[in-house]
Symmetry: C2
Subunit: 412 residues, 2 copies
Amino acid sequence: MREVVPPPGSERAKKFRSIIVRTMTTLIMLALFFLIMAGGTPFVVMLVLVCQALVYREVTALFELTAQSGGRPIEGKGAEKSEDRWSKTLNWYFFAVTNYFLYGESLIHYFKHVVFADAWLTPFATNHRFISFMLYMIGFVGFVSNLKRQYLRQQFGLFCWVHMTLFLIVVSSHFIVNNILEGLIWFWVPACLVICNDIFAYVWGMSFGRTPLIQLSPKKTVEGFVGAFFTTLVFAYILGTFSMRFNYMICPGHDLGVTAWDNVECEKNPVFIWRDLPIGEPLVTILSTWARRPVTSIPVAPFQFHSVVLACFASLVAPFGGFFASGFKRAFDIKDFGDSIPGHGGMTDRMDCQFLMGMFTYVYYSTLIRVNHVTPGSILQIIVSSLGPQEQLELYRELTSYLHGRGLLGSS
Amino acid sequence: MREVVPPPGSERAKKFRSIIVRTMTTLIMLALFFLIMAGGTPFVVMLVLVCQALVYREVTALFELTAQSGGRPIEGKGAEKSEDRWSKTLNWYFFAVTNYFLYGESLIHYFKHVVFADAWLTPFATNHRFISFMLYMIGFVGFVSNLKRQYLRQQFGLFCWVHMTLFLIVVSSHFIVNNILEGLIWFWVPACLVICNDIFAYVWGMSFGRTPLIQLSPKKTVEGFVGAFFTTLVFAYILGTFSMRFNYMICPGHDLGVTAWDNVECEKNPVFIWRDLPIGEPLVTILSTWARRPVTSIPVAPFQFHSVVLACFASLVAPFGGFFASGFKRAFDIKDFGDSIPGHGGMTDRMDCQFLMGMFTYVYYSTLIRVNHVTPGSILQIIVSSLGPQEQLELYRELTSYLHGRGLLGSS
C-alpha cells in the first residue's frame, strides 16, 4: 500500500484537482474521438490498432516488473540483458504474427474484390492460414530452442503471459475492427455506452456512493453501478435513435475514402428501418391527448431495442473487465498500468471494458443481426476466388446462354 | 534431481527392463489404436476426446502442485479447501464451454443436413456462437466475482494457465477431430508418422546416440533426431501409398455407422488419384532393364508427396512440442506428467507432439488440399435460384468486365 493519508484539508483539494484533471482529459479524449470518428473508417481502425499496441506494451512491460521482483536468482548482468532483449523480440514477434493473421482474415473477408483482383496478393490470400501458422511455428521453435535451464520458469511464464495478452487484447480488438467494417455504428454505440457507463459510475459513485461493490477496488460502489445502469439504458435509447439517422454510420465501411461529410448510400440492414408498432388502449388515449391528434401506433426501429441490449451488457457485464483489470493491478501492487493519460493512468486502465464490449457486440451482431444476403457482388467474389480461368469462362458461356434463353439478353 | 545413480550392473538390468516395459506398452497401445481405427469415425473421435480430457487433467493438476510449492502463505486450512474446489470447478467449466463451442462448430459444419433438419436443434445451431460466448462470460464473471485479495496472484496464475492449456490442447484436438471427419487418413497418417518418429528417435538414439541435441533433455541425441528423420520419410512414402488404397480411409466421415469392414464409396479427392509421371532418359533405361519391359512413366499420386511433407513436419518441427513439454517438466522439477501409461509416464508425455502435428495437418489440409466443391454448375444454380432478373443482368455485366479486365474475353 503506497497510499499516504494526507491532512483532511489537502485531501479535499487533491480530490478536487484530480476531478478537474480527469474531466479535462476526458473532454479532450472525447473531442479527439469525435474527430477521428468523422474522419472515416481507416482512421477509426488506426485508432483501435494504436490503442491495442499501447495496451499490449503496457501489459507485457508489467511482466518484466513481476519477473524482477519475484523471479529466480539471475546469474550475471550480461545474460539478463540479452535474455531481456530476446524476450522483448519474441513478444513483439508473436504480436506481429497474431495481427498479421487476424487482420489478414478481415482484409480477405471484407476486401475480396481488391485482394483477389491483384495477382500479386492472391497467393497470400489463398494460403493465408498456412503462412500465418508457419510464421507462428517459427516463433514457437525459436522459443523452445532458446529455453535456458536457469530461466525456465520465467520463460514459460512469459510465454503464457504473452499468449494470454494476445487472446484477451489482440483477438478482441480484431473483433472491434470487424465491427467497424460492418458499419461505424457497431463501434460507435458500444464504445459510447461503455464511456457513458464509466463516467456515470464515477459521477453517481462520487455523489451518492456509500456501499462498496467489490472487495478489490474500494472506489467502486453499488450506487455508482446501479445509477450508471439506468443512465446508460436511457442514453442507449437516445444515442441509438439519433445515430441510426446517418447513412455514414450504418453503411458498411467498404469504401475507405468516405468521411462524415460525404454522402453515402447503401442497402440498409432491416434493423435500421422504421416500422409502426400498434399500441393498446391506455397508451392510445394518453398519447393522443398528449400529441393532440389520434395516435394508434408508434414508430420503432429494431436497432433501438438492440441498442438497449448493448447497454445492458455495457453496464452489467463489461464492468467485470474493469474489475478483472483492478484485481490484476492489485495482484502486482501497482496503481495504474501506465501514465500515458493524465488523471486516467495508462491506456489499459481506460480500455479494459472496451475489449469485452467489442467482443460481445461482434458475437451479438454476427449471430443475431447480420444478414447474409446473396448479391451479385457476393457471387462475383465466389467466382473470382474459387474458380480457375477456364471454369470462369465456362460459367460465363452457361450464364450467357441462360440469359439468352430467358430473353433477358439481346440476340447479338 | 531425484535420480539416483545405481551400481553399473543393476543400471544395465534396469535399462533393459525399462526397454521391455516400454516396448510392451507401446505394442499394446498400437494394437488398441488399430482396433479403434477399424471401429469407425465415432470411436476415433471418442479416443481423441478421452486423450484430451486426460491431458487436460494432468496439466491442470500440475498447477496445484506449483501453487503449493511456490505460492503465498495460506490463511486457514478451510479456506484453502474451498478455494481448491472452486478452482477445480472453474477449470472444468472452462473446459466444458470450450469443448461445447468447438465441437458445436464442427458438428454444425459437418452435419448440416442433420442439425438444420431438426427443429429442436436449429436454434442452438444458428445461435451457437452467441450461446458459447455467454457461457464463457458466465465463467468470466464467476471468476472475477470470486477474486480474493489474499489469493490474487494464484487465481490469476490459474486463469492464465487454464487458458493456455485450453489453447494448446483443446483447440488442437478440435483440429484433430476435424481431420478425422475429413477422412480417417488425415488423422491416421500424421498420427503414425509422429509415433514412428518417436520410436525411431528412441531406437537410433539408444543404438548410436552420442551427441546431445538440446540442453533440456539429455536423452535426446542428434543421431536419434537425424536417423528418425530419414526413417520417417521412407515410412511416410510406404504408409501413404498403402493407406490411400482404402476407401474407408480416404472418404469423409459423414456416415457414422461405417466400420473398416463396410464398403464405402465416395468421390475421391484428386490427391488420391493415380497419374503417370513421364520420366527422363537414365531412369527409362534403368527401370526398363529392371522390369524387363519398356517403362517410360511411373504411376504417382499427389498424396505420396503430401505424406512426405507431413513426415518432414513430424520429424523436424513436431519434436519441438516434445521439447516444450520437456522444458516444462524440468521447470517444475517433475519427471513425467502422470503415471497412467507404464514405461511412458502420463498421457501428456505421449501426446505432446500429436497436438502440433494435428494442427499442422489441419492447416495444411484446409489450405492446400481441401476441394471446395464450387463448380460452374453449382454457381449457376445459386444465380438462378437466388437472384432476380435485374440482379442476374448486373452480375452478367460485372462478370463480363472482370473477364475483359483479366484478358480472358476477346474485345468484342
